[in-house]
């Protein structure tokens, strides 16, 4: 999100204009909040959703600090985002899902994910490209969820303060 904002700072109008259209296009009033609890799959099949959920939990797993992508229901968020994306984006997911399913059925989910992630900086195959898309979605969904923001990052902001406490550590000065 911040990277997007940084971009927005330099190409602001174009993005903001496109965004307002996409919100309007889906008839969502700006006060509307999406919650995974009410969500019915609109793009993924039940099987696909199960696989994505499993993969996402491997990308951001529960650890002794906080729950992971499964508990944050990130796969349902992914379904919302993909089902409301343009056709090119949906096709990217379709192709990626097929490549991933094929690989999973050949080996295992864990091995398929490891193979997909092997070339993250310069993805070449359909499977490798899918990893980049899938991970980005996992990151977007997890770190915008209540679990990601509050439990994992322990984010302290979005508050009303009467004064801002500056740094008082001698070592930083």
């Amino acid at each position: 999100m911040k990277r997007r904002q940084a971009l927005k700072i330099v190409t602001l109008g174009a993005l903001a204009e496109a965004a307002s259209q996409s919100v309007a296009a889906h008839g969502l009033a700006s006060g509307y909040a999406w919650t995974p609890g009410d969500h019915h799959l609109a793009f993924f099949s039940e099987d696909e959703n199960r696989m994505i959920d499993e993969l996402m939990e491997m990308i951001i797993p529960a650890d002794d600090h906080s729950p992971g992508a499964h508990a944050a229901q990130v796969s349902l968020f992914a379904d919302l985002m993909v089902s409301t994306s343009d056709v090119a984006e949906q096709q990217r997911w379709r192709r990626g899902l097929e490549a991933m399913q094929e690989e999973v059925s050949r080996s295992s989910t864990a091995q398929a994910l490891a193979k997909a992630a092997a070339n993250e900086s310069h993805p070449e195959t359909e499977l490798e490209r899918f990893f980049v898309v899938l991970k980005r979605m996992t990151v977007d969904g997890y770190y915008t969820s209540e679990i990601g923001i509050h439990q994992d990052l322990n984010y302290q902001g979005n508050a009303y303060l009467s004064e801002f406490p500056g740094c008082e550590h001698e070592a930083h000065h």
Binding site: I9, L15, A16, E17, A19, V23, A33, A117, D140, H169
Partner: protein
């Protein structure tokens, strides 16, 4: 039909100031604004991502400022990374600006004389200085006088914002490299001022401030205009063209009411165009008449040309010395420090101009590093967490050179939702821009490596523009052959026409433009008052 003294078109920084100054000076003013009021109750600033339709990832928070009927535009012959910003809302971009409030330096008005490029402005820093002071006191600015030649200061500031840990580290490292780091100057209140409350440090400035601690025109200057009893506001009024009389003087504005879709006219003695750089040029170019066949005040063909703005880049450094520290609330009022231009302090360069660095204006809520770190699983998740407390963002704003080849035109064959020809953008970076960008990259990389930490940068993507700082398309100048306006933002060819937004800039420095826009607008308003007294308009 009623004839107003002045018709102001646009309610952003330029228009808001113009209306206030004129109303307080005794003029009867009508303001036409294409957008409508978005009251603070409709801001989504304090909403959590999970309370928004798409978690805020589709810019839902800013969507109310960008209704979709404004989106028609075309980019043609344009370098990648170029985007222009056009809002439609009462208050313009002051509703969601970041309020960094910097004076241009004396040298910034004299590029031709001092650097041998572009043109000198038809006015000097000394002539604008009283108006800078006037605006600073009107809007309320925190900061201090740092006694820097490159960044002149005013006399009255509210206390500066306290610095975060990362900003102290930046200042310490900067000092060792000869790079100054100073308290930012921002139109954000650190104390109660002008009946507005101080900031509550939520970091949401660019999504709309719910308590008016930041300067916006609807909260700060439009109420003052209204209080005079001489101010009329027409919202949802999209100016289509300015009509002239047989002598070529501006006489009326033809506008479309966005709600009723009907076309109306408003008459005035003087017109102040404040629609911002793209839309002001578009309005003049769409105002064709037998007296002004190429657009209003455009017989020399300058209007629309010399489009430029800031070149931007960003570097994130996750400081080693803050990694794994306990999370604290770092939101603040976005940037608290500023790195003024420093390349003029050292050796010779093969280009003109410089850059300033705005620090930490991005949100602290989303961990940007998660988009950049490689790998997955438990180590990935732990690393995102470990880095988060050390986040330091450096956003650069570089000077871009104004060039005639870069321009906004209108396309008579493609019209928007109201049948108004759309703007078409033509823009390519020049040699000076690229040379400056290269030197800036090297300097930023050096700074980032000296700061010690994990670094992610967008610099490899090449230069981007314009950071919502477009200027130059109806420029001022000494020579009526190569400019559209004189030093009072008055059209050379149409004496009762003024253009006081960023389009009037002769050149751009590395500094954010809005304080200069407001100072020019206040100075032009004063000139209009004088000229009206002399019956010269």
């Amino acid at each position: 039909m009623h004839i107003y003294d002045v018709c102001v078109i646009g309610s952003g920084a330029a228009g808001g100031v113009m209306a206030k100054e004129l109303c307080e000076g005794g003029a009867e003013v009508i303001m036409l604004e294409a957008g409508e009021e978005v009251p603070p109750a409709r801001f989504l600033s304090h909403k959590w991502p999970y309370e928004l339709p798409y978690r805020g990832l589709r810019d839902e928070k800013q969507a109310p400022f960008y209704p979709k009927d404004i989106s028609a535009i075309r980019y043609q012959d344009t370098d990648s990374g170029i985007g222009v910003d056009r809002v439609r809302v009462l208050g313009g971009r002051t509703l969601h600006w970041n309020a960094v409030t910097l004076r241009y330096a004396p040298r910034d008005f004299r590029e031709r004389t001092l650097a041998g490029i572009e043109e000198d402005w038809p006015l000097s820093y000394q002539e604008l200085a009283p108006w800078y002071e006037h605006i600073e006191q009107t809007i309320g600015v925190c900061g201090q006088d740092d006694h820097l030649e490159i960044l002149p200061a005013g006399k009255h500031y509210l206390p500066p914002l306290p610095w975060r840990c990362s900003e102290h580290v930046l200042a310490r490292v900067g000092k060792s490299m000869g790079i100054p780091v100073i308290p930012v100057r921002k139109a954000v209140l650190t104390l109660p001022y002008d009946q507005r409350p101080p900031c509550h440090y939520c970091g949401h400035c660019m999504d709309g401030c719910d308590v008016s601690s930041i300067f916006t025109t609807p909260d700060c200057v439009l109420p003052k205009a209204r209080a005079t009893g001489r101010f009329t506001l027409r919202q949802n009024a999209v100016a289509r063209e300015i009509l002239t009389d047989s002598s070529g003087r501006a006489q009326a504005v033809s506008f479309i009411d966005r709600i009723t879709r009907s076309e109306e006219q408003v008459r005035a003695r003087v017109f102040a165009v404040c629609c911002a750089t793209i839309e002001s040029a578009r309005l003049l170019l769409n105002s064709k008449s037998p007296q002004h066949p190429d657009g209003l005040g455009n017989s020399n063909g300058v209007v629309g040309h010399y489009l430029h703005g800031h070149i931007g880049g960003g570097v994130s450094v996750y400081l080693d010395e803050l990694a794994s520290t306990k999370p604290v609330n770092q939101d603040g009022a976005t940037d608290h420090v500023y790195v003024p231009r420093y390349n003029q302090l050292s050796g010779k360069r093969d280009y003109a101009g410089g850059w300033g660095i705005q620090v930490n204006f991005e949100s602290y809520m989303f961990p940007d590093q998660a988009q950049h770190l490689r790998g997955y699983g438990a180590p990935f998740k732990a690393e995102v967490r470990r880095l988060q407390p050390g986040y330091l963002f450096l956003g650069t704003f570089c000077k871009a050179v104004s060039a005639r080849e870069n321009y906004v035109a209108v396309d008579p064959h493609q019209t928007d939702a109201y049948g108004i020809p759309i703007p078409v953008i033509h823009y390519r970076f020049g040699e000076n821009d690229r040379a400056l960008w290269r030197d800036h990259n090297a300097s930023l990389q050096q700074l980032a490596s000296r700061l010690k930490g994990t670094v992610f940068s967008s610099l490899d993507n090449g230069p981007g523009g314009f950071a919502s700082h477009e200027v130059g398309t109806v420029r001022m100048g000494k020579d009526p052959q190569t400019s559209a306006l004189n030093g009072f933002c008055q059209a050379h060819e149409v004496k009762n026409l003024f253009v006081t937004d960023g389009s009037s800039f002769t050149t751009s420095s590395e500094k954010n433009p809005t304080l200069t826009i407001m100072a020019l607008s206040a100075r032009a308003a004063d000139y209009i008052k004088q000229q009206r007294r002399l019956n010269a308009l």
